[in-house]
């Protein structure tokens, strides 16, 4: 074990690289001696890429040649980033197909988000190589705990593009806990409140003799300092428009100047009671405005309040009351805002820890994890991180309902095995749709991938037994394998990751899942009732063909026909109670038919006839996983 493994915090606003020096994690500074590398990538006039501080001036001078906050676009489809782009001066490539990874203009060229992130990673790598005077090829990279599969995959891709072997993706709040826990040989329950430039995470951990066991996590991958900036920018731009009769909203350079001014003001307001915004306008006029901390706090309160629901949900998922949290750790630049600290203190009834620099603590933790993976450091040889998956993994079942197979907050690696079968005789393919999210319906969850199981030996419908194993690895990334059990054949799988086929943002999914729980349940009940209606209608159609049918009286037949008609009339409606009641009526009306059919089935089986021909029906024959009994 000779080569150093570095730890990287690939942040929305700033990125850092750190490593374990002896028993202490340290951040490696850039050539300019600064630890923070702004996550800004620019193209200069000679089409050379420039990263970090030097790239920042391009934002103001030639804003179409610089990109910032690219992390918000990682692993997302065109449909996902639509709202995002209202606030960012990025131009998407115009020739994007739906489902394609997005590409953004930088000067005349276009790049995908992983490529742009890779420029940042490359810069960090260079900084480390200069520092060590040796090549660096292995890294641990941090991601928001609430990142989904696609976002994680995109981050891993970025590492690969930058020439780094990404040994592990670590969740940012967990990394922070590692950095804090390094010298505190403590046991107990810790909460990490990570409010950064673009994302918010809350994680609750149990510390036990060097084991860091995450028990619950929640968050919002689109909630951060950027949202606070955007509020201030909107106000400033509106006021400029009103007072100076000057609409600069489309002027990228001025917007960036405003952005810089409001960020400076925001930072000052963490220590000063008031500050002044001053912006020079292209007209030569000057926009000036005084902001007090009080005004600022009132303005941003709604943004800060959005962090509270994930915190409460994480506590609930962990089965804990706020009082049971023994320590609270603050991470991310936005936690420098005094009002944020107040809110956290109030929620957990604890003064939060701020000993470590909130900008650096994640990178330091990544270095600790790198050392654990390297396995050669005394300081970390007793430490082990047991992380969890932030989102539930499910499979689309009959009627667009999601059957959850790995629940959120499960320790990773985690796996689940599901069985599928065919619906048509001789069918050799089965399509499976994997989703991530908490909502009940597939259309409201994030589509991760569609799998096509091929090469199933032709068999009568329902006979093949295809075992699909889904495994979430220690990076939080999904792996899939499948096998047909009757023939023992390994089924071929082609994986099609789906970017943005469903455009719901993951975090809004969670929040919405509470708002819409009722609506979901109703839709689900309608779908289930319809499925049941189809089952009984199919069974009835079969019954009509069976010898048992002729044994019914004319009036019985008429009654059944009326009941069938009644069911057909309500079946496509949205009132599941009506569908259910029509099913029950028809069910009762066909009792005697079913009994007669059972008799004939027995008789014909004795005659050596196949049961198949008199089968009462297996229900809808589309492939579907065997549903789980809910004992929640």
């Amino acid at each position: 074990m000779s080569e150093r493994i570095v730890g990287i915090d690939l942040g929305t606003t700033n990125s850092l690289i750190a490593f374990m020096e002896g028993g202490t994690p340290v951040v490696i500074p850039g050539e300019d001696g600064v630890n923070l590398v702004p996550s800004v990538v620019a193209l200069d006039a000679a089409n050379q890429t420039i990263v970090g501080n030097a790239a920042r001036k391009f934002l103001i001078e030639t804003s179409d040649r610089a990109i910032y906050s690219v992390k918000r676009l990682m692993g997302r489809g065109v449909e996902d980033v639509h709202d995002e782009l209202k606030f960012f001066p990025f131009r998407l490539a115009s020739d994007l197909d739906p489902g394609e990874v997005i590409r953004i203009h930088l000067g005349e060229k276009t790049f995908t988000p992983p490529e742009i992130s890779a420029y940042i990673l490359r810069q960090l790598k260079r900084n480390a190589e200069r520092y060590f005077a040796a090549p660096v090829t292995k890294a641990v990279i941090t991601v928001p705990a609430y990142f989904n599969d696609a976002q994680r995959q995109a981050t891993k891709d970025a590492g690969r593009i930058a020439g780094l072997e990404v040994l592990r993706l670590v969740n940012e709040p967990t990394a922070a806990a590692l950095a804090y826990g390094l010298d505190k040989k403590k046991n107990g329950i810790v909460a990490v409140y990570d409010f950064g430039g673009g994302t918010f995470d809350i994680s609750i951990l149990k510390l036990h003799d060097g084991i860091f066991e995450v028990i619950a996590t929640n968050g919002d991958t689109h909630l951060g300092g950027d949202d606070i900036d955007n509020l201030l920018i909107t106000i400033a731009l509106d006021e400029i428009a009103n007072e100076h009769r000057l609409d600069v909203r489309r002027n990228g350079e001025v917007v960036q100047a405003v952005r810089k001014a409001v960020i400076d003001a925001k930072i000052l307001l963490s220590s000063e009671p008031s500050t002044k915004l001053e912006i020079e306008l292209p007209s030569g006029q000057r926009y000036q405005r005084e902001i007090t901390r009080e005004q600022f706090e009132t303005l941003i309160e709604p943004v800060l309040q959005r962090t509270m629901a994930p915190c409460k949900q994480a506590l609930k998922d962990a089965g804990l009351e706020a009082d049971q949290i023994e320590e609270v750790v603050l991470v991310g630049g936005s936690t420098r805002i005094p009002r944020v600290r107040q809110l956290v203190e109030k929620l957990f009834h604890r003064v939060p820890h701020t000993e470590l620099n909130p900008d650096e603590v994640v990178a330091l933790g990544a270095a600790v994890q790198a050392s654990i993976l390297g396995g050669s450091s005394e300081a970390t040889n007793n430490m082990l991180l047991l992380d969890i998956t932030p989102l539930s993994l499910g499979i689309e079942a009959l009627g667009g309902v999601v059957a959850k197979i790995i629940h959120r907050n499960s320790t990773i690696p985690a796996s689940a095995t599901e069985h599928f079968t065919t619906g048509i005789d001789g069918q050799t393919n089965v399509a499976i749709h994997v989703l991530q999210g908490e909502r009940e319906l597939a259309k409201d969850c994030r589509s991760l991938a569609r799998f096509d199981l091929r090469g199933i030996p032709p068999m009568p419908a329902g006979l093949p037994r295809i075992e699909v194993r889904l495994l979430i690895d220690a990076n939080g990334i999904l792996q899939v394998s499948a096998r047909e059990q009757r023939s023992g054949k390994e089924a071929q799988i082609s994986v099609q990751p789906s970017y943005g086929l469903t455009d719901d943002q993951v975090e809004t999914m969670i929040l919405e899942s509470f708002d819409y729980a009722e609506q979901d349940l109703e839709q689900r009940q309608v779908i289930e009732a319809r499925n049941e209606a189809d089952t009984i209608l199919v069974a009835l159609a079969k019954g009509r063909k069976s010898p048992a049918w002729s044994a019914l009286t004319e009036s019985e037949k008429r009654e059944i026909a009326e009941q069938e008609q009644a069911l057909l009339e309500v079946k496509d409606g949205t009132d599941y109670k009506k569908i259910r009641s029509a099913i029950d009526t028809l069910n009762q009306g066909t009792t005697r038919l079913a009994e007669l059919m059972m008799d004939t089935a027995v008789t014909s089986a004795l005659k050596g006839q196949s049961m198949e021909t008199v089968n009462v029906g297996q229900g809808p024959t589309a492939p579907h996983p065997i549903g789980k009994a809910e004992f929640e």
């Binding site: 074990m1 040994l167 592990r168 036990h208 003799d209 084991i211 994890q369 654990i372 993976l373 390297g374 396995g375 082990l384 991180l385 047991l386 499960s410 320790t411 990773i412 690696p413 985690a414 796996s415 689940a416 495994l471 979430i472 690895d473 220690a474 729980a517 009722e518 049941e532 089952t535 009984i536 069974a539 069910n587 009762q588 066909t590 009792t591 005697r592 038919l593 079913a594 009994e595 059972m598 009462v616 029906g617 229900g619 065997i626 549903g627 789980k628 009994a629 809910e630 004992f631 929640e632």
Partner: protein
């Protein structure tokens, strides 16, 4: 057994140690080599076997947690990041087995469900099958509402509906909320008593297990206990859902 290729040799060794250890009750050596720490390939074992446990429903949770941590320290992929690809894959498989097993066994309900599945009870298909079976036989679907709760559940549904209507109209009815709170308390109480029943069921099962080892428990007795556990779980799930419904309804009006 003349094949001496490295992989073959490895698999023979692991098979031996696996067998040896299951018989002595310790699973350690089946998971990793006790002298060099190398992770062994994953073998299909049930969650109880994974921890070297008998299929008892009463479990020492503190001991389970200790075992979970101790095994994590041997099996987790973070500790095998420098190993050959094949061994990394083994560590991934083993550690996912470990996590799945721990998650299932530490939770009393998941544990009971899992045990019932091992005993051949198909909980998954129970509700679907009940519908299908009812249809096929032409009988009405088996009623899952515990008979002694019918009245209360009926009343509850009416009240929840009323609460929703009130909310839509912007009206509030403190009495109604009060009544719902009472239902909630009563369901909670029922839940607690079902949990007691469950524990009694565990005791029965574990007793049976001890007997069956001495060969005195009959299949009939076993079936009886299994049926009882299934019934308890069904009732528990029903009551849990009621508690959830009341909670949701009350939360929706901010009570």
């Amino acid at each position: 057994m003349t094949d001496t290729s490295p992989t073959a040799a490895l698999s023979i060794v692991s098979d031996k140690s696996t067998n040896a250890c299951w018989s002595c009750g310790s699973m350690r050596a089946a998971h990793f080599c006790q002298s060099c720490g190398t992770v062994q390939p994953a073998t299909p074992v049930d969650y109880f076997q994974f921890f070297g446990l008998d299929r008892n429903l009463q479990l020492d949770l503190a001991a389970l947690e200790r075992d979970f941590y101790a095994l994590s320290r041997k099996l987790h992929p973070d500790l095998h990041a420098g190993d050959a690809d094949e061994q990394q894959q083994w560590s991934l498989e083993k550690s996912s087995q470990l996590n799945d097993a721990y998650r299932t066994l530490k939770d009393p309900i998941a544990r009971t469900e899992y045990l019932l599945r091992l005993q051949g009870v198909d909980l998954d298909e129970q509700s679907t099958n009940a519908t299908e079976a009812a249809r096929a036989s032409g009988t009405a679907k088996k009623q899952v509402v515990p008979p002694d709760m019918l009245e209360e559940v009926f009343e509850l549904n009416m009240q929840i509906e009323e609460l929703r209507m009130n909310q839509k109209m912007g009206a509030s009815d403190p009495d109604l909320i009060c009544q719902l709170e009472e239902h909630k308390a009563s369901f909670r109480q029922r839940l607690a008593s079902v949990d007691k029943e469950l524990q009694a069921g565990w005791l029965q099962w574990d007793g049976l297990l001890t007997h069956s080892q001495s060969g005195t428990a009959s299949d009939e007795e076993r079936k009886k206990v299994i049926d009882r556990l299934v019934d308890i779980l069904n009732r528990r799930s029903y009551i849990r859902n009621l508690v959830r419904d009341v909670n949701d309804a009350l939360e929706a009006v901010g009570a």
